[in-house]
């Protein structure tokens, strides 16, 4: 079994929750798609990617506007009304950065992480690179819904 195959949605759930529990006191669990909000995240109101290995291997986190605001509010410890778009991108980007670092360890990738990059549109919509593993995660009360995707090929990944 190669390393990518071992990265299942439960692993992604654990990596995200480990990051958010330690620093924000928020835990995430897997959820099943609900048509409206799932579509909203798929419409990529806010997406950030971090390159993990080769150009095809990306960690992408997508949030709808409401989820992005709540995550930003938790990270900056301030009301949503005090957040600007740059702060929302920063919050989502930093979460993506931390999770990408852990995914890199899981996949045994040696090359350095890229910097978080705000995406104009979701790579899931553009169709390139091909999505490899996606977890839809939500907080306990469902206040924050995130789509976490690892895209890529097996190239550059230790088996």
């Amino acid at each position: 079994m190669n390393a990518l195959a071992s990265l299942n949605v439960e692993t992604l759930e654990g990596l995200v929750s480990t990051a958010t529990e330690a620093m924000l006191g928020l835990s995430f669990s897997l959820t099943t798609p609900k048509v409206e909000r799932d579509q909203a995240t798929h419409d990529a109101t806010r997406s950030v990617s971090v390159q993990i290995g080769d150009a095809a291997t990306l960690l992408v986190i997508t949030a709808d506007e409401e989820s992005g605001q709540r995550l930003g509010s938790a990270m900056f410890a301030c009301p949503v009304s005090e957040l600007d778009p740059g702060m929302l991108d920063d919050a989502l980007g930093e979460l993506a950065n931390i999770v990408a670092g852990q995914v890199k360890v899981c996949l045994g990738i040696k090359s350095p992480l890229g910097l978080p990059r705000v995406l104009a549109e979701s790579p899931l919509q553009s169709g390139s690179p091909m999505p490899w593993r996606t977890a839809l995660l939500q907080t306990q009360q469902g206040e924050i819904l995130l789509r976490v995707t690892v895209t890529g090929s097996d190239e550059g990944v230790q088996s």
């Binding site: 330690a22 702060m87 920063d90 992480l113």
Partner: protein
């Protein structure tokens, strides 16, 4: 003590600051820099006792900041809080003069363990 936090993410600077407060280091003075260049300016003007830096930043990596400081003769105490923690990076950091290497995500306890020997108890 005067502590400089260097991270291109404002959110992360705030989270580190919050965790330091929870770890019992609230009494120290904290200043922030959003890049390696800003850090060099802040170090020259504020003369911090400790620099806590991210590694992966645009324009100047944290390790390049440390290397530049040492090449300029600065002996400021320095450590990393970063998303990546490979053996190679830890070795590179240690060889360059870093005193600690904390990987994200971290807890206040992680910061306490790494920083207590440097910052001590209440100032």
């Amino acid at each position: 003590m005067n502590v400089l936090l260097v991270d291109d993410s404002k959110a992360m600077r705030l989270i580190v600051r919050r965790a330091l407060r929870e770890a019992g280091f609230a009494g120290h003075e904290f200043v922030e820099a959003g890049s390696g260049a800003e850090a060099l300016t802040a170090i020259a003007s504020k003369q911090p006792d400790l620099v806590i830096s991210d590694w992966n930043m645009p324009e100047m990596l944290g390790i390049d900041l440390l290397t530049r400081l040492r090449s300029q003769g600065s002996k400021v105490r320095f450590g990393f809080v970063t998303s990546e923690g490979s053996v190679e990076m830890r070795t590179q950091a240690h060889d360059a003069g870093a005193e600690f290497f904390i990987t994200k995500p971290f807890s206040p306890e992680d910061l306490d363990k790494a920083l207590r020997p440097i910052l001590g108890g209440a100032p």
